[in-house]
């Protein structure tokens, strides 16, 4: 099991366990973490699973693919640490990952 920590826009922190091979988005939905909508169900087609990866983790994740960068154009308040959580795979390498959910998914 891999631990993922979601911090919402009010600062509330939720620590959940993710299965290896699942995505961070799926982990959020499975654990009823608010702030992730995932309207398209993980097809990288909607940008409603937008998260800000914590600064401490930003450089440790594989870079976003061009498709994800394109889809981030549909998100609001995009920052250098913005990612779509449906494109981040859960693995031992990201145990303890901290992501911040935006105030609104659009």
């Amino acid at each position: 099991m891999v631990q993922i920590i979601f911090i919402d826009s009010t600062g509330q922190s939720r620590s959940v366990e993710g299965d290896e091979g699942a995505t961070v988005m799926e982990t959020a939905l499975k654990n009823s973490v608010p702030g992730i909508e995932a309207e398209c169900g993980g097809a990288c087609a909607c940008a409603t699973c937008h998260v800000y990866v914590d600064e401490s983790w930003a450089a440790r994740l594989p870079e976003a693919q061009p498709m994800e960068e394109d889809m981030l154009d549909f998100a609001f308040d995009v920052r250098p640490t913005s990612r779509l959580s449906c494109q981040i795979r859960v693995s031992g390498a990201i145990d303890g990952l901290v992501v911040h959910t935006p105030e609104r998914q659009g």
Binding site: E69, F74, F76, V78
Partner: protein, 345 residues
């Protein structure tokens, strides 16, 4: 306003389930009109994931969203459905009785339908432009902030700020450049999803100083009443500055909203329409809800579940529309009458 269109069935939503409803109703001699807010058939399959493979359509080990839509369009061809795109239902008024239901349906385009049954196959709701979460944006909508361009003339002589990096943003920036006093295109990065020729055309105009391109994101708006005077922009370097404009066009794609369906007097459960599992009918006799928009114990939001649901809903619709006709259960493989309808006999 056009003449009233009379039909047996009006299907709201041209996604895979709405399209297959045309087929199941058609086999029972029920003619259908289909309404969708998108400019084309296919719903989410066409809008969200046309190129993505789907693996759980029976009989297709793999098929893309668009491939499924294309096949369904071919499958329903014999029934000649009439499509009405770029339209959304605004109101529904019952004009029949529980035994012989009928509805007057008015669209946002003021088209009126009189239909015997209404089949809601609206999926996740209607696709509508995403509104940026900018404080106070509502006050300017319709006068200074627009999510679509209906009339180019409205922008003549204005300072227009277009935000986005896709085809809508680029196309409108290029088109409005001809009538506006000044067009500024803003995008969060210097890379675009839009067609390369549009991007090149934009870059040429910018080089010729006939258009501005700004890297940044709108974080606030300034103005008085419903008149916009400028946007507060966070630039690439994180610094904030003001950008004067009196028209703003944000293009951030589409999102799904339940919309006016919530006001039709139907029993809802968490924004889904409650139906029975025998006929997939709502609490209003003659209004059916099929596919992702409905809910019942054990509901799975799968395309294949929606296909099953329309087959059963069609049986009930037949009883309303042809109360005196006995409905014979038939197979398309062997029934000469069904094959005649399909044009294959």
């Amino acid at each position: 306003m056009s003449d009233i269109i009379k039909t047996d069935a009006l299907i709201v939503g041209a996604g895979p389930v709405g399209l297959f409803a045309v087929f199941e109703l058609g086999l029972l001699d029920i003619k259908a009109h289909v309404l969708d807010i998108l400019p084309m058939a296919g719903g989410q399959c066409a809008e969200l994931y046309p190129e993505k493979p789907i693996y759980d359509i029976p009989g297709f080990p793999t098929i893309t969203g668009q491939g499924l839509v294309d096949n369904l369009m071919k499958q329903i061809e014999p029934f000649h459905p009439t499509f009405h795109f770029n339209e959304m239902v605004a109101s529904v008024e019952p004009i029949g009785t529980p035994e012989a239901p009928a509805f007057r349906v008015t669209t946002d385009n003021e088209q009126v339908f009189e239909t015997r049954v209404l089949v809601i196959a609206a999926g996740g709701g209607s696709f509508q432009p995403k509104k940026p979460p900018i404080a106070g944006i509502d006050a300017y909508e319709g006068t200074s902030v627009f999510y679509a361009v209906r009339k180019m003339e409205n922008f003549r002589g204005r300072r227009v700020l277009v935000v986005g990096g896709g085809d809508s943003a680029l196309d409108w920036a290029l088109n409005l450049q001809k009538v506006a006093e000044r067009v500024t295109l803003m995008h969060r990065r210097d890379a675009f999803r839009a067609a390369p020729h549009s991007v090149n055309a934009m870059r040429e105009l910018v080089a010729a100083k006939q258009m501005d391109f700004v890297l940044g994101q709108v974080t606030g708006l300034t103005g008085e009443g419903d008149h916009l005077s400028g946007a507060i922009v966070r630039g690439e370097d994180g610094m904030t500055f003001d950008l004067p404009c009196n028209a703003l066009l944000p293009f951030f794609g589409l999102t799904m909203k339940l919309g006016p369906i919530a006001d039709w007097g139907l029993n809802l459960h968490e924004n889904l329409i409650s139906v029975d599992t025998e006929k997939f009918e709502t609490n209003e006799p003659g209004i059916f809800a099929v596919g992702d928009i409905n809910t019942y114990p054990g509901k799975l939001k799968l395309i294949l579940s929606g296909f099953h649901e329309v087959a059963l809903a069609a049986q009930r619709a037949h009883r309303y529309i042809y109360p005196d006709k006995k409905l014979l259960f038939q197979y398309t493989t062997s029934s000469s009458s069904l094959q005649k309808k399909l044009g294959v006999s």
